[in-house]
Amino acid sequence: MTLTAKQTRAWLLNFSNKIHDNKQYLSDLDQAIGDGDHGSNMSRGVTAVEAAITDESLEKASDVMKKAAMAMVSKVGGASGPLYGSAFLEMAKVIDNEAIARVIAAGLDGIKKRGKAEVEDKTMVDMWAPVVDALQDGRLSVEAIEEAKAQTKPLKAKKGRASYLNERSIGHLDPGAVSSSYLFIALLEEVEVND
């Protein structure tokens, strides 16, 4: 099953709502091990995404995703802008033809290529990678997402701003992993992914 433009739009708008609802929380998380702006960065980004994808003439899922990617890339500075931007762009390339597991895998590749992070570096990769695994096994669930999120807590950051904290980054959730968790919860809410 591949996603339609309508499904993709619903998914991203749901994601956007979750980001707005959790803006302060995301910034608070970033405050502990970063510079406290992940919530405002993401909320600036998804506001631009909303505006970009409302255009009803976008016919394909890839059109919607590409617009979203450009919005993230042009409106969000910081590390998360180009990372979400790369993810969305790589996803756009395959979304019209591939199943959702392959789409998210493409996004993950985009993030890894752009940010050079690996699993256990305490970044959003630690959310995307387990999600790809779960999707491949047809067992993505809110519990699996929450589990992946919690797993970022004990890690020591090796990439991104938090890596500058060294030992002190241990014991906190990774903000980018948390914002990504909303993307996947939104996906679960809008699309039947495990069929």
């Binding site: 091990i33 510079d35 406290g36 405002s40 910081g78 701003r161």
Partner: protein, 333 residues
Amino acid sequence: MKKIINQPSTLMMEMLNGIVMAHPELELLRKHKVIKRKQLDTDKVTLISGGGSGHEPAHAGFVGKGMLDAAVCGEVFASPSQIQVYQAIRETASTKGTLLIIKNYSGDVMNFKNAAHLAEEDGRKVDYVRVEDDIAVEDSLYTVGRRGVAGTVLVHKAAGAAAEEGRSLEEVKRIAQKAADNVRSIGIALTSCTVPAKGSPTFQLAEDEMEYGVGIHGEPGIRREKVLSAGALAKRMTTDVLKDLQITEGSEAELVVLINGFGGTPLQELYAFNHEVAKELSKRHLNVNRSFVGNFMTSIDMAGVSLSILKLDDELKTLISRESDAPAFKVSG
């Protein structure tokens, strides 16, 4: 939060407007939040830097003769987008090409590098240098390198002077890289900054505490400690920086010292701290060529100070003392 502002969301644009009003030799490209020199010399290498806002006077205050040609301004503590940087490259293009000076933060690096690629696809000559001067961060294979902090200003200065001489992109890059390779910094904070959009301090310190090894975005330092006297602090910071630069007692190399206030520390203390650092250097029989004291790379309203030391060779020495005429960095030459 006590600030003289309207609301956080409009602050940055108001600030950029206020900057070009005070410095009519600068021009604001409103759409892309780029501050550039009004009169560009299209026959010299274009120098562009930038990054998040909140570091004023960096970087707009370093746009001017002998320093930068443009500064690309992101939101508070967020790198500008690649589109912004790309537009800055286009709007300031010269026959000799463009050098980007990037502070080493993932966001800045990704956005500036992407912009460079976009511009290269247009057939433009663009290169970049990363500044990673902050020794608070251990250099290791597993991290993304060190942070770029106040030492970046001295890289602007050296590269700016080289560009002003009409040198090639390769040459200007070599100079910028050399300056970046020879500058190291360390910072401490007595209080946290307050990001306007957040409205509360990013971290809390007790009356007798400081953070050693802070960044310039309100990131916590590497250690929380008891406050030291200016003398003890100068000794420790000087020792740490010299060690990392591998400068030993009695070394011949002349040094440039940059004492940078983070925004909330009065000039009174910065100058007195300069005196303490000078004492430490002279104890080690080291020669200071020049010292710069002031707010150069701030963290909004944070109280604290950073020390940067640049090790000179003859070439850098000449370039650092060339005339510069940027609002926040004037050297009489």
